[in-house]
Amino acid sequence: MPASGNHTTVLTVRLITEKPNRQTIEAVRTRLQEFDLDVEASTDRSIEVRGPRAKLEAALGITIADEGHGHSVVEGPDLKLAEPNFPVSAYIPRKPDFF
């Protein structure tokens, strides 16, 4: 964390679709890259995006809330894409328990 205390939390958001579609996924990936976000993992069903909260909210059309135990997507996404299949949902992954 910088000495100034201006630490920006980087969050991960996963976008998932019920209907796998590589073309749509690629279109979304390209769109997200315009926002200078880290789009690291994708299949033909999902995309994982990392970046600062405000930038994620703006790019994905989501609202993020800090619920104490972690962040959650509480509204959206709204990517305003022509493709109706993607995305159907967005969430912020949680850390699992190791048994």
Binding site: T12, R14, I16, E40, A41, T43, R45, S46, E48, R50, S72, V73, V74, S89, A90, Y91, I92, P93, R94, P96, D97, F98, F99
Partner: protein, 465 residues
Amino acid sequence: MTKTTVRLVPRSSQRVTFSDYVSMPQERLSGSVAPERRSMNKAIKAFDDRAIPQEASPLKRLDVQLDEQEMADVFGDVAMEQHPTRASDDRSVSLNETFNRPAAALSVPEALQDSIAFAYVPRPVEFFAPLPFPPIENIYHLRLADVRLALNAARCHMNGWTGKGVRVAMADTGFMLHPYYVRSGLKLIPTASPGSGPADLDNSGHGTGEAGNIFAVAPDCTVFGVKHGSSAAGTLETCIDQNPDVMTNSWGYNIDRMTKDELRLNDPNMFFEVMDVEAVINDAIQRNIAVLFSAGNGHRAFPASHPDVISVGGVTLNEDGSIEASNYASSFRSLLYPGQNIPDFCGLVGRSEMSPQSAHIMLPVPPDSELDGENFPSGRSQSGWGIFSGTSAACPQTAGLVALLKQISKGLSPAQIRQVLNARSVDVTDGTTATGDTAAPGHDLATGAGLVDALRACGFAVGTS
């Protein structure tokens, strides 16, 4: 071009203060304390004149990075030789296998001799690794060789069923190439997933340790140790990318306490995560990958409750050889997936009275990790071993057994594997789980079909049992 680090040591040992540093004009210098000015400025200027990067250390030495030509310019013709970093391959670890060093002492250029006492090429340090042998601790526990015997895998190995040619992916906290694995010749491949960082860095020790349970049963399989990254679904996708026959997971979410509809209403973020993880697991099943999850340690764990997942609970092996349902392990009826009972069957797990962490199995962990020295009565740490268990141990044990089955018959489906293990596990008739279910003769909620038995399962798979 490869560069060599050379460290120049000044003649003066006079201590300097921070104020000396801030008054110095050289912007390249960094650190809280600068080199002694009078003796080092000349050297700094000499390298500045050649545009050679340099960095002053807090103790007034100067490090410079020189390529081959620069070495010749400054120190004359210097013969370099490759030298091994480590004395042995299992008592220490180093970031480099070899390093280049000059065959003879470096001659300080005449122009610098009044300020520089000597120069040398630093050798990469060795990090002293833990022993490959587990230490002796005065508490009842199993060693990995005991796990092999207890699950009846030793005789499978004599039959040639060792997991050879089978690929297992394990998602966990990280996987250090512990000397136990290296000395044993076990094939553990640390693998990063999106957002995970270095896969061989395991601050917890959980992944490094629990992987030993796979090899106890299937010593010849190849294990891809996939370090958890920024999402569980992404981590599982990385596991699938390794083209495994088996996926073993000693983790989960304590959320199987409501129906999916209720989850969607109460925690939509988690609901979508469940949907995502579920879809990735379905993808694995469609590829004929056997997917195993720990039932949990008193948790009501998802994804263990997923209908196509093989869920593994816990049975304790007592000192007198008797077995009973572990009071540390989970058993429950799923609410997320009505009709699903967890576990399907069990591996070896300790009891909760032993310690808060259920001491039962001595496992290799990175020195200084959270589980280093866990449950050692001696209090010893930094040994690179810890005694712990939970259904986290039971699941990879069972994954090892599945690897044996996959060696015998690569085409076995996850459903067929479940059938084989259901048919040939050892019934457990005593003990009560952490969630309050008591074992009884026959299939029961506490332990499912009972404790897995490698020889009986493999014999069934080849038609001899």
